[in-house]
Symmetry: C2
Subunit: 239 residues, 2 copies
């Protein structure tokens, strides 16, 4: 079976607007999270969608889903954990509680604050996660990438740009394999490997690349939020 997992566990907001975590901020006519959820609802290959929300915001998230006409979809809100990967683990455990464990189960994890993801990217993720242990959505680096070790004061390396990519989400993978690798890791390793695909890379599993899109931006800062509003208002992006 194939599951969507929307990671909405954050409570802080670098945007600090209206005391709402940023995934709940309005964008056009609805909250960012609802934009994101709607993209996943469009994907008929998904058997169910799980949203990982902070415990304090589970009820609010459920209310939003009802109030925006999405209660007809198979959407479950799960309390998230202290870290991104722990929120993923909580979702995976909810999936297995509801649907049982299977080596064939695939999850498509996605940032709640990337509302402009396209259906075609979700579908490409599903295809890649069927064929490989995991996949990561990336775009070729548009900027020159610079590495600076230790002090952050001087350049250590400017790697060849055509080998460098900027990671987006979704990140998709076989559920049982992720759980196995993660349970074998010690706390120290877990605290360093905050990226689900990096968990696979460090464990030696091949992670396939899926082509993302420049419009699939992550809304992290107030600047990103304003750009997203401008993108919708100027019809760079259709709602």
């Amino acid at each position: 079976m194939i599951f969507g997992a929307i990671l909405a566990g954050g409570t802080g907001t670098r945007m600090d607007l209206e005391n709402l975590p940023k995934q709940f901020l309005p964008l056009g006519e609805k909250p960012i999270l609802i934009h994101t959820l709607e993209k996943f609802c469009l994907c008929t290959q998904l058997d169910a969608i799980y949203v990982g929300a902070h415990g304090d915001w589970v009820n609010h998230t459920q209310d939003l889903i009802e109030n925006h006409g999405l209660s007809g979809y198979d959407i479950h809100v799960v309390a998230g954990g202290d870290s991104r990967n722990q929120t993923i683990i909580n979702i995976l455990e909810a999936i297995e509680a509801d649907h049982g464990a299977s080596d064939e189960h695939i999850v498509v994890t996605h940032d709640s604050v990337r509302p402009f993801v396209k259906l075609s990217i979700i579908e490409a993720n599903i295809a890649a996660a069927k064929a490989h242990p995991a996949c990561d959505t990336v775009i070729p680096a548009t900027d020159t990438i610079v590495r600076s070790d230790e002090t952050g004061e001087f350049i250590s390396e400017i790697p060849t740009r055509d080998r460098m990519y900027q990671g987006q989400t979704p990140q998709s993978f076989k559920i049982s394999l992720f759980k196995q690798i993660y349970s074998d890791m010690d706390e120290q390793t877990r605290s360093v490997l905050t990226d689900a695909c990096k968990v696979f890379v460090e464990a030696g599993y091949p992670v396939h690349l899926v082509a993302g899109d420049v419009t699939n931006i992550k809304l992290t800062t107030i600047m990103d939020y304003k750009i997203a509003q401008a993108m919708i208002e100027s019809r760079v992006i259709d709602q």
Copy 2:
């Protein structure tokens, strides 16, 4: 002495609008290049500003400078070369023809299509290029950076994010040192080292980091162009 160098040598445009190279496209009330030039005109530490334009567009560039009220500034338009670094070399030779050679001369090179650069960033570049052989303007990587060698199909490495930066411009350096390193390189090396700061890094000189800004975006694609228009219309950026 301290010189500005605006790199406007491109003729192609991935935007393909109005048959104009993208630096000449309108943004709000004036061309992108004029936005950029105005930021450099604000910097009183600069002794002169050079613009490297493709030979076919030198006259057009000179006309724009006159028509937008910038003829009172010490701005020179120079024919660019076949590559970014060759355009820089052409500008450096024009500077030395006008002002003589000196080990103290500094140049602040900047993409013509980064119109939102701030005066404070230009000033920080000048300070860093006085103290060091060269400096590069960067922001901490907002996305996870992914390296994929050879095929571009699988992830080779996900480097630790807090060591990774996204390069912007200005890139600023001692003129005589750059000319010396560049003249010692063979054609093969030159064709690979398309980034001026990488020329310094590969030659073993320390390149200092200067803090850029998320608004200092490079307008490369039609999407960037629309975002820039939206940023101006929505007053994310003041003109």
